[in-house]
């Protein structure tokens, strides 16, 4: 055991490392395909996107060494410090940040920009793990639940202010973590049904949704009266009236919010996704081109560097948020499915490993990691294949961007560090 202490890679799960390397290098090949402008290859060069990304990739190795160098205990002990630094870094943006594309999400250091929100996820996961693994922490208490919510949603709130709703949305991933640790599923059910009613209201209009919901409640009430008699009505009348009122207000509120509060570009994204509007040239161009590009790949794809839509720059932001469309075109159904399967395997493996942890800190953290990856994959690929609205967040390990790559590397390798030590009594 002593021997392993000297080797920082000892106990590291190589399945995950392999998947990590695969996604990162395959990602780079696609970034190269999507961003090269000339036949000349200029690797390790700041003048090209793929050159820059290659430098970022190379720099992940010293970063990994540093992460693995520290003891597991270190991460647990200093998680609050990391968290506070994270919050400060987000706050600092409002003073020192640089405004790019209407959002203040970046610190600017010459050629390199740094996007703190990409790192904060990892440290929030640490903080949540720390909180939940406290021996005195009883998660069934609402007070404690609120504590957890504050830790999770404080950074999300600061990110919304940038504004970067996409990155903030990711924090909902922690519900999986909290559910694993005992939070009732009702929150998720509530969230999902809220979302469904929201979409339904936009799509079918408030009248039909209110009518159908009221009918549902009424059927529910009648069924219960049949079962339990009039007693049911006597004890639950306020709940029933409350349900009618709440749903009515929510639907009307949604309608108002959608029509009057939502900025027109956000409204358009929903409209296009729901097929209310078609606009293949303007705002819908990205989704349309992206779907077309993926379709054109067919089963086998057109081959590396042979995707003519990719090479012709038809998909905007293809090296970052739309990188998956490059995979679809040049590597086809086989390549694109392989990437999805790789992500699935990675997440399965993380959950599997997390469940084997005897220590709660590692398990909670692992769940945090898996859920964050999951949300990123859903939102990003869902957008690229035209199932979800346009929300600009990167595909983990894959998309162009140093902050994102390093953020996810830190997130993953802290887990690998924790995991490597799970069997020691420390």
């Amino acid at each position: 055991m002593r021997q392993e202490r000297n080797n920082i890679f000892a106990g590291v799960d190589f399945t995950l490392v392999f998947l990590y390397l695969f996604l990162m290098s395959f990602g780079w090949l696609n970034i190269y395909a999507a961003s090269r402008t000339t036949e000349d290859v200029e690797l390790l060069n700041f003048s090209t996107k793929y050159g820059k990304q290659l430098i970022f990739i190379c720099l992940t190795f010293p970063l990994i060494v540093v992460i693995l160098f520290f003891n597991s205990k270190f991460y647990e002990k200093f998680s609050s410090v990391f968290y506070i630094i994270s919050i400060l870094s987000l706050l600092g943006l409002f003073v020192f940040g640089k405004r790019i594309n209407g959002a203040t999400s970046w610190y600017n250091f010459g050629v390199i920009g740094l996007q703190p929100s990409e790192f904060v996820k990892a440290f929030t996961a640490l903080a949540v793990a720390k909180l939940l693994s406290d021996r005195q922490y009883n998660f069934t208490l609402v007070k404690n639940q609120i504590k957890a919510f504050i830790i999770i949603f404080l950074p999300a709130f600061l990110i919304i202010l940038q504004p970067d709703a996409g990155s903030a949305f990711i924090y909902f991933a922690f519900f999986f973590v909290l559910n694993r640790e005992g939070l009732t599923l009702n929150y998720i059910i509530l969230g999902v049904s809220t979302l469904l009613i929201f979409i339904g209201t936009i799509y079918f209009g408030p009248e039909s949704i209110i009518t159908s919901l009221f009918i549902l409640i009424t059927i529910f009430v009648i069924l219960n009266i049949k079962k339990a008699g009039k007693r049911f009505l006597r004890f639950n009348w306020y709940k029933i009236i409350g349900a009618y009122l709440l749903l009515g207000i929510f639907v009307l509120g949604t309608n108002y919010f959608y029509k009057h509060v939502l900025a027109s570009h956000q409204k358009d994204r929903f409209d296009i996704l729901l097929g209310i509007k078609t606009d293949n040239k303007g705002i819908g161009y990205n989704s349309y081109q992206s779907e077309l590009t993926i379709s054109s790949g067919g089963l086998n794809g057109k081959g590396f560097l042979n995707g003519d839509l990719t090479q012709g720059d038809f998909v905007p932001e293809q090296h970052t948020d739309y990188i998956f469309s490059t995979v679809g075109e040049e590597w086809g159904f086989i390549g694109a499915s392989l990437v999805i399967i790789a992500f699935m395997l990675m997440m399965y493996r993380i959950i599997y490993l997390a469940e084997t942890h005897s220590n709660k800190f590692g398990r909670v953290y692992g769940y945090g990691l898996a859920s964050i990856l999951f949300f990123h994959v859903i939102v990003n690929i869902g957008m690229v294949i035209g199932l979800l609205p346009t929300v600009g967040i990167p595909l983990p390990f894959f998309s162009y961007g140093g902050s994102s790559l390093w953020g996810f590397t830190i997130l993953l390798f802290i887990f690998l560090r924790l995991d490597a030590h799970k069997n020691y009594d420390w």
Partner: protein, 626 residues
Amino acid sequence: MQRSFLLYFSITLVGILFIGRLFQLQILRGQKYDPINNAAVKTQYDYPERGYVYDRNGTLIIANQLSYDVMIQPNEVAPLDTLEFCALLKIDKASFLKRFNRAQNYASYLPSVFLKQLAKEDYAYLQEKLHHYKGFYIQKRVIREYPIKSAANIFGYISEVSESKAKKNADYQQGELIGKAGIEKEYEVYLRGTKGKKYSHKNRFNKVTGSYKNGILDTLPSNGKDLTLTIDIELQQYAESLMKGKRGGIVAIEPSSGEILALVTAPSYDPNMLVGRKRSKNSVLLMNPNNPDKPTYDRSLMAQYAPGSPFKMMNALIGLQENVIDINTNFRCYEGYQYGRRKNEFMGCHCGIIGSPIYLKTAIARSCNSYFSNTFKRIIEKDNKPSEGLNNWSKHVKSFGLGDYLGYDLPAGAAGRIPTGTFYDNRINYRWNASSVISNAIGQGDVETTPIQLANFTAAIANKGFYYTPHILKKVAGEALKNEKYTVPKKTSIASKHFEPIIEAMHEVFKTGTGKSSQIKGIEICGKTGTVENSIKIIDGIKTQAPDHSILVAFAPKENPKIAIAVFVENGGYGSTIAAPISSLIIEKYLTEKISKPWVEKRMLALSLQEVYDKQKSKEIAPGTK
């Protein structure tokens, strides 16, 4: 349930959903994806040269010429001295700005035409100067040229393909040229050739970034095929010159082959008017529906006239075939034919033989109305019901290609009209008989034919009972036409032997009959004059009857005929005064290449009916207005 179940389950569900969506996009929808027709591949065309066209004697009649357009690519234009530039192109500043903005609005990064079709003399000078102006250059294009200013109705014209056609037909892109009338339209497929295609990759700014698949799909253009027409362009020109100042049509056919030797409509126009810079202006002028001359309306193919007296031969032939008359049958004529009981039910006749028996040969030579009214009556009354008799008659007439589209190879045409029993059953409420429809006996009434149908009818007589569908294409790229439609003779329903007396009679027309004054020494012409009465029209509130149309059909020589012709001159009066001399001049020109009566030629060339035509116009309505 394991606590990890929810996340495992969600991941699996989303994974399946996503892969399913990829399957839908890439496998199901991906099959429809066309690797060449998409945004990332630019197809550039290399245009072939359009085929040349020659007449039957090898004279070049349609050629190509180079045209030079000044092109502009707005995003490459550098600041320039506008005044100097305008002076160079001979345009004013307002026009410069208009053209520039139009190009800019079209696409700033794509070339478009700035100034169309420069004069040849400007080109050399401009070529030198223009390279000082960035973003401007000269592009060569091939356009049509018609060395002989004639036969516009046959040639047709080419112009930009319509948007709807370009969308439906993969062979055409918007802005490309296509034949729109005449042989340019009919034989577009031969003439256009095959475009060369060059595929290249392009980016979303439409910039070409390299060849597509190293050019393995690229093709070279192949030029259009040269055509040889059956037209004799000299004859065509000569016939056109004779029709100057007149309206009408002339069709000349070689009976032994169905080849169209000349196809004249008058008035016509110079085919070069629809080429080049003045094209659009001229086309508005020519195609104006209020233009009474209707120069783009091909009267030789489309005008439906009552055939008049030449139709008497038809009734004679049917009479012989149906055995209701023979060459010994005679009728008497008393300055006309009383077909009903009432006094006004009388058809006048100018044959001048009063009371003596008239036989077939004389009847045709002197164009006796009474003789053919009697014959027609016998044909109709042969069957019990007049309707059946007329149907039988109609069947014979139609076997000569009358009453329907002939099937020649030009895109314009009209069916004409040959009435049937049903036609009158529907039109006449009471019981009708031969007398009710007697006008058809002399080619008036409800019979309508086009000049080409009449020429074909004449050719069938010359051939003694069969004809070849008239056609205008002789050879494609030097190879003779093999289309069975034009090489297999079509038989009429009249036995060959019945044509002998008719031909004799037609010969008599030019020897002693109505065409006597137009006979030519040394050429045995067989023909028949016609004078078609016009119906009464009301112009400016006054009942007006326009002067008769002058008609003649003929073939020559009598033995082994070389040419069959139909001449139609609107409002020309008697067939013998205008149509007959014109036909004999054309026949003589074609057969001997000489003119033995230059004074007739001179008179016909100079004759103008413009005054007659002007009278028919409403005085209150000026030409060109509604």
